[in-house]
């Protein structure tokens, strides 16, 4: 990863319509969690996360957010996103929006489930341990969004689902006939 890795992050922020302001705590939090979720989805931005008191976090990203403050705030970048990157940014924006709470919960759950290979129950336990100040409903929503963004169904999964729900769909169609 080169010295200008922050430029690709700015391109993602631009695609997401994220007007970043360094002095805002929530903006710095959103920036951290967006990058963490993108890395977990397999996009190598050069800012891997590990666990700190703030949950999954990249000190290198913080350093660059402050060092290249003007570029981030003005969304100045020469980097271009590929169509796959744009699709991923679209998913991220559609599923999470730019809301700090679901992003924080989703990134924490994703980090434990993917980077630490925890089973879903253990990942949930870790989220509740690190973020006990969020309600059950907020945790459930954040995790559901993380699952939607990070775990995409394979063709096999979709086939299984079709078999499982097919019987109900046929039954409901039959009911409509009456």
């Amino acid at each position: 990863m080169n010295m200008k890795k922050h430029k690709k992050v700015i391109a993602f922020f631009k695609e997401l319509g994220f007007a970043f302001t360094i002095s805002r705590f929530d903006d710095r939090l959103i920036a951290q969690k967006l990058v963490c979720l993108l890395e977990l989805r397999g996009i190598n931005l050069g800012y891997p996360c590990s666990i700190y008191v703030r949950g999954p976090y990249s000190p290198n990203l913080t350093e660059d957010l402050f060092s290249f403050k003007n570029e981030f705030e003005n969304l100045e970048t020469s980097a271009r996103l590929s169509s796959t990157d744009k699709e991923t940014a679209g998913d991220l924006g559609r599923i999470f929006g730019l809301k700090p709470v679901p992003l924080e919960i989703g990134a924490t759950y994703g980090y434990y489930a993917i980077s630490q290979n925890c089973d879903p129950l253990e990942a949930l336990r870790q989220v509740k341990r690190l973020k006990p100040f969020y309600s059950e409903a907020q945790v459930a929503l954040g995790i559901s969004k993380a699952k939607e963004f990070l775990f995409r169904p394979t063709p096999g999964d979709l086939e299984e689902l079709k078999k499982e729900t097919g019987i109900w769909q046929r039954a409901s169609l039959k009911t409509l006939e009456h």
Partner: protein, 108 residues
């Protein structure tokens, strides 16, 4: 520079002895790692499993020593207390880490 245990132990006098408590070391280490971003009271409480009273008292000691600063911030509509490390705190933490490394590497 001599690396005998006695020299290393005597060099510890240059460090601030008030930082050498488990809670203060945990706080300084975890807040220093976040640089200018800092951490909120509730995040420190949850992640380090320190109760309110002990956490508040020790954060204040570190603040009084000039190693931390605090400010009120708003996150998701809630007012929170954010703690960040100062330049002095950062320097002291670097000195402590460097001394601890030498102490652990000493073969005595």
């Amino acid at each position: 520079m001599p690396e005998d245990i006695l020299s290393i132990l005597n060099e510890s006098e240059a460090l601030n002895a008030k930082v050498f408590s488990l809670v203060r070391m945990k706080l300084l280490a975890s807040i220093a790692a976040l640089g200018p971003d800092g951490a909120t009271f509730r995040e420190l409480k949850a992640a380090l499993t320190i109760n309110d009273g002990v956490l508040f008292a020790n954060l204040n000691v570190l603040k009084d020593m000039g190693y931390l600063r605090s400010e009120k911030i708003t996150s998701d509509g809630k007012e929170l207390e954010l703690y960040t490390i100062t330049a002095e705190g950062h320097d002291e933490w670097k000195r402590i880490k460097s001394w601890l490394r030498r102490f652990l590497d000493c073969e005595a």
